[in-house]
Symmetry: D2
Subunit: 139 residues, 4 copies
Amino acid sequence: MGLQMNTDELMVFLDREFPQVTGDFAIEDLGEMRIRTRLKVGERHLRPGGTVSGPSIFALADVSVYLAVLAMIGPQGLAVTTNCSIDFMRKPAAGVDLIAECRLLKLGRVLAVGEVLIFSEGGESPVARASLTYSIPPR
Amino acid sequence: MGLQMNTDELMVFLDREFPQVTGDFAIEDLGEMRIRTRLKVGERHLRPGGTVSGPSIFALADVSVYLAVLAMIGPQGLAVTTNCSIDFMRKPAAGVDLIAECRLLKLGRVLAVGEVLIFSEGGESPVARASLTYSIPPR
Amino acid sequence: MGLQMNTDELMVFLDREFPQVTGDFAIEDLGEMRIRTRLKVGERHLRPGGTVSGPSIFALADVSVYLAVLAMIGPQGLAVTTNCSIDFMRKPAAGVDLIAECRLLKLGRVLAVGEVLIFSEGGESPVARASLTYSIPPR
Amino acid sequence: MGLQMNTDELMVFLDREFPQVTGDFAIEDLGEMRIRTRLKVGERHLRPGGTVSGPSIFALADVSVYLAVLAMIGPQGLAVTTNCSIDFMRKPAAGVDLIAECRLLKLGRVLAVGEVLIFSEGGESPVARASLTYSIPPR
């Protein structure tokens, strides 16, 4: 199918759609059906003890699949998450960004399914895994 | 078993554990194995169009089960989410708080399982449902 | 919307679509957007110790949502499960049927979402909970 | 940690624990924290049209994580599934075995988490993905 949007176009689109989180995320690498995304961890993402909060990890997984889908189908603000299953497996390292490795397993006419492994930067064992389904608007 | 913490004690504990979200949540009703919680929707919870973002809905589900568990076992900062499955079913109404109806289905020695239905205040159909597992620290 | 199929019609349809499981399931009660279903537990559903196997519990949850959806939309063999999240919370009682209490939370044009609580017959605490999404074929 | 059981030992254990499914499964490959498993598709796994049923796919995912965990911790009949999230993404090919590629993402003291991709043999796109949590009995 080929990529419909590049990294810069995705970031511009994200800034417009999610202005509240502008600056939280960066795209590290982009390919067909896959993306690597960074959560630039700041004070507002933390829990006491310095680890990243669950909602922040969820947001990283969610935005990663969203961007991977958009990259393939083009700018569709109406793509919405319908389901997420997430396992929190290890405590994220304190004071370190999170890196999401995301892969689309399905990109259908109506539904897309992506899976995400999330690591503390430099860590070998994932702190979380997630799978998400997006509903794709009729084109 | 009986409640180990009341509404005021839960809110004090929450403020200490999640200082970043102080003021976002309120407890509407509390009972054994159940809680009703409010997300006071503000600008930072919104997406364009005025609906509440996915991570904010996740946070409401997560904090609801957390508080329901704490109310039963007492202040245990170390209870952590291990799994969440969430279905986003309808667009939340714009400019309206979200209400979570949470029930604990299991409160075991090691694991607790809660389910949550989330409504736009005054709405009849749930905007989301979630089920979460918490790991309970050894006592 | 009203029911499009009654209990007898659902069972005839099920026998045709799932001939391998004919006789495993019975409908105890049927209403709009809800159903109560029984798994008639037999030797082939058991694990050593006499408890019902995970796949059998999954099958009960799956068929319950399927029947609840069919009852509302009419005989659509092409409705397919796209996602299931299931929590196994307690060991089912030995030698006892399982009862599923199922409710549809959403019945959209494309997707339906149902939730299920599963009990050992006569038991008060659920042995499992599940939520399932069905994809509905275009009509 | 190293493998505590080899393929033959796992199959003997499985035959004893799941006598109802003896002969349904085979181990194709085994390593530390990973396993490849086959569902030998027979008449009883099928739905009309010849595709494999959802409960059969669930059973394959479940048994794969179970065997991967056992291989690492040794024969523990009491390891039980506590959660499964599964996405059904494509119709399995008719008359073809299913192959599960399973990896353990976490093997903790109390909980293990595994993820599984399931393919029709020879197919390139997964028909399903699943993630499962097992509760490990105290040793």
